[in-house]
Subunit: 600 residues, 2 copies
Amino acid sequence: MVLADELAKAQRSISVAEFFEKNKHLLGFDSPTRGIITTVKEAVDNALDACEEAEVLPDIYVGIKRISGDVFRIIVEDNGPGIVPAQIPYVFGKLLYGSRFHQIKQSRGQQGIGISAAVLYAQLTTGTPTLVISRTSAATPACQVMLQIKIETNEPDIISTQEIEWDRAHGTRVQIEFKSSLAAKKRLLEYLRYTAVVNPHARLRVDLDDETETFERVSSEIIVCPKAIQPHPHGIEIGQLQRMLASSDGQVELFLVSGFSRVGKKTALEMCQIAGISPEKSAKKLTPDEQRQLIAAMQQVNVPAPPASLCLSPIGEDLIIRGLRKEFPMDFVRARTRPSSVFSGHPFMVEAALGYGGKLPPEGNAQILRFANRVPLMYQQGACAITGCITEINWKSYSVSQQGLPVGPLLILVHVASTNVPFTSESKDAVASIPEIEKEVTLALQDLGRDLKQFLSRRDRNRLAEDRARAVCAIIPEIAEKVAEIVELPIPDISPIEGRIMRKMVVKKRLSGDTVTIELNNYTDFNGTVSVYETSPDSAHDAEPKADFVTSLDTEFTKVWQVPLAPGASWKVTWKGRGGGNLDIRGIDEGKCVVVDLNV
Amino acid sequence: MVLADELAKAQRSISVAEFFEKNKHLLGFDSPTRGIITTVKEAVDNALDACEEAEVLPDIYVGIKRISGDVFRIIVEDNGPGIVPAQIPYVFGKLLYGSRFHQIKQSRGQQGIGISAAVLYAQLTTGTPTLVISRTSAATPACQVMLQIKIETNEPDIISTQEIEWDRAHGTRVQIEFKSSLAAKKRLLEYLRYTAVVNPHARLRVDLDDETETFERVSSEIIVCPKAIQPHPHGIEIGQLQRMLASSDGQVELFLVSGFSRVGKKTALEMCQIAGISPEKSAKKLTPDEQRQLIAAMQQVNVPAPPASLCLSPIGEDLIIRGLRKEFPMDFVRARTRPSSVFSGHPFMVEAALGYGGKLPPEGNAQILRFANRVPLMYQQGACAITGCITEINWKSYSVSQQGLPVGPLLILVHVASTNVPFTSESKDAVASIPEIEKEVTLALQDLGRDLKQFLSRRDRNRLAEDRARAVCAIIPEIAEKVAEIVELPIPDISPIEGRIMRKMVVKKRLSGDTVTIELNNYTDFNGTVSVYETSPDSAHDAEPKADFVTSLDTEFTKVWQVPLAPGASWKVTWKGRGGGNLDIRGIDEGKCVVVDLNV
């Protein structure tokens, strides 16, 4: 027998389940610790997608409990539309099964792999089947299925199925048990926090072993679910066209109009004309040569970009800023939502934000938050095209230090939304290097970088102005006093001099003995009301004039005075106290006002 | 109708071919340019694997030709064992089909995806079927198959099949056409060069558009093909054990002995005893509880590591050094093959090499060559665990500068060989972060780092010794001369002084007028023959004594004298010339010899 016959005996088909059981790290199960995060992520992704489709406000419960030794039970429950009983085994018990793969629209799940991978991991490490409960409406009972995956065939293996009572009117609950650890608890909470930031309409309740945390929704507005669109004529390859033609049953003109987005009757006729094909010809009967001519013609005709506003769901600049401000106190934060763009026919959109200062750690690398289709990316930062773009930007030209990554009190957020996010692996940890996406990320960050530079230089200018003001306000009175003493005249009113030098609203705060004074001098043409906010341990109950309102937090009191000020006018408040704290003037242009703490 | 029913209609099974058509970047087809490298890589991997299995010396032809516009034809032909006609459609026309996935041994191919992915890419971008010719022996005709993949089902679509005449007695030829570019030509040649380095037994002939290059084999020794082994009892999970039990048909004892590597009768009985299971019980009939007890017992019993020497095929320190020296002239090169180790039951072995100086670029990051199972990894260096390890090492402690990566004239080679290399994606570009592998890579590099440090400090010491020698040899004669003049006595013989100070073999080279002199003084106890190599533009045809042999390259002549030297002896040669060039003394310990060029 020849060797080839011998070798042929070893040739075998490999089931997808076998493949991913062996290569489980590709699905985010490279370590037991990571398994929990991956499972929660996949289940929460599904829950959010389902709620979006059903247009309900998501209310998601995540429970993680050690049940013995290194075995953990992970429960994720949602109030989504539920799954019909016949589909449950396939959705959870078959890899590469789902509703979102064949649709062109932004969704968190794309592959039909995620949650089945967790089922696979559970049966591999503990042999325990997964328990699913789902109910589709108050009119039907809930269905409980216990299932596994038949590894050799990648088909669901139903162990039991029964109707049960369930207190939810609709929704899905999945319970998975596998070997893991809670070593990455911090990162899990981070994942949930970031998820809450970009899904402000969702409530997440978490039971983590014995801790409980709730991420409350901050918006009750339901996100509009993106709509699926047809493929774009410029983003299609000959192989796909051939398949579409083979399964069509009409004339070429109709095929083009109904099969592609942005193709109307006129465009379709133009394509047919360039290809030299009669628009009435049966699409199915095109010869291979005609197919090639058609695809060439489709590329030649000008067609508007795909309707990104339909199929994409960006977070929006305002919501990004609000989400970030909630979690990270910063001196500066800006966001950009770039116009939509296209790679290989897939519409996409890049959003980015830059934050600076505040409570961000002043040293070390900038903090990078990466998101794809509203899902935080928690691993493989180094392998991600987003990180690549950040490293390639010359941050020094935006007054930020850089050692590979930018360093300093900087936060960088990037969100890539697409009908098909190109991940570097099935575990969806990192965005692949696609030039079109990289260009958009870079443009967004450069744009924000210019804003940051402006902020930083203004802050530096403001510091200069403050230094100058401090000198003027502290020294001029002393000079006036000395001069008055020498010439034996009364001390003159120095405010006109101050005003001429400063040409600003000058706010002076001073502690003399136990008396705190705040004095406002309006040397500008401002004519209106400013709010004086002072926060310090002084309660200032004896203030003269009295504060318009006072709030207290722990041992700090915030006092607010509403002060009407005409040009040239001045105002003063005093109280007994120890001073210190913060002083903030609102209602007047930052650049027109100088705050001087004369005790610093 | 409830929403869930509506949603259920969109639920569909996704074929593997569909999945990878959409996610083709996961397979290394992220850009047309890269497509050529990926295809050549997959085809050459298969050819080398097949030749290894057939124990023939690989003779591989790679042809790449632009056939029109942006369409390229890629041909890879080998002299391997061939593929039986019935298997050809599956090997090339079905993703996840192959002989190596289910075997536990080192091989280049692991997944049964690679070459079919190229077929998929061809039909997607050009609609052109792939042409395969294969012949399994001189006694059978060759079989030619034209095929594609049915995307919706991932099954082969045979367009034509016929017997043909072919001049090879056995082998396989595949011809694939797709849209691409030759922009990455340099990287393609690099890939082929590196492949030749780690497969010294292979001949690679390359036709690149209109250039031809041959990478000749440097060794005619056939690599011993690794043997497949059984799984190791410590590297198995309950899910796998359950499947193995279900398909077994004997007693538990026999199941353990025949199903696992390193398990003999004694070990099997011990496992049964700890698990509380009778060794005679039918393996198939174990209850779930007994299964759990059995796997726990399997982990408890001490079992030797898997037989790595059988299933792995490291390159070897000597061959790595020879391969590197051939491609990169360096002052220092060392290699290490680490002992084999295990992760999740998969045996693996790490090999590494460090090179320094010579013609390596003196500035910029160190050059990193990554290999896995004798295959060069050409992309995603930043995402690779190997790069991670290199960055984590403190190179400064080995006298090498570092900015993230080490910098300077440094070359780092790492080869990971395993029965299951954990790649970060199906495109097999980067090794995933597995702590056990990272540990071995780090240990190998630290070990080599210590050697490098020693080399560098010796080099520095040698420089010091040379400086000292130059001073001694140049100044002492002058002092002797002056002193002799003053005391009016003849100039004394200063060699004993030189000898006492140096205690080395001192080699002096000097140019006086147009006379070149090389003088050897052996102040050591060395007693033997040294070879004096002098390379310069001087032909030295008038040398006294005559050189033992002379070779010339361009305008440079290398003259060699064999010089027997007893302790205390000296030797001298002179010729007319301009001097300069290099002087090298071989046959005596580097540390015992000092070469002084007195004209420098």
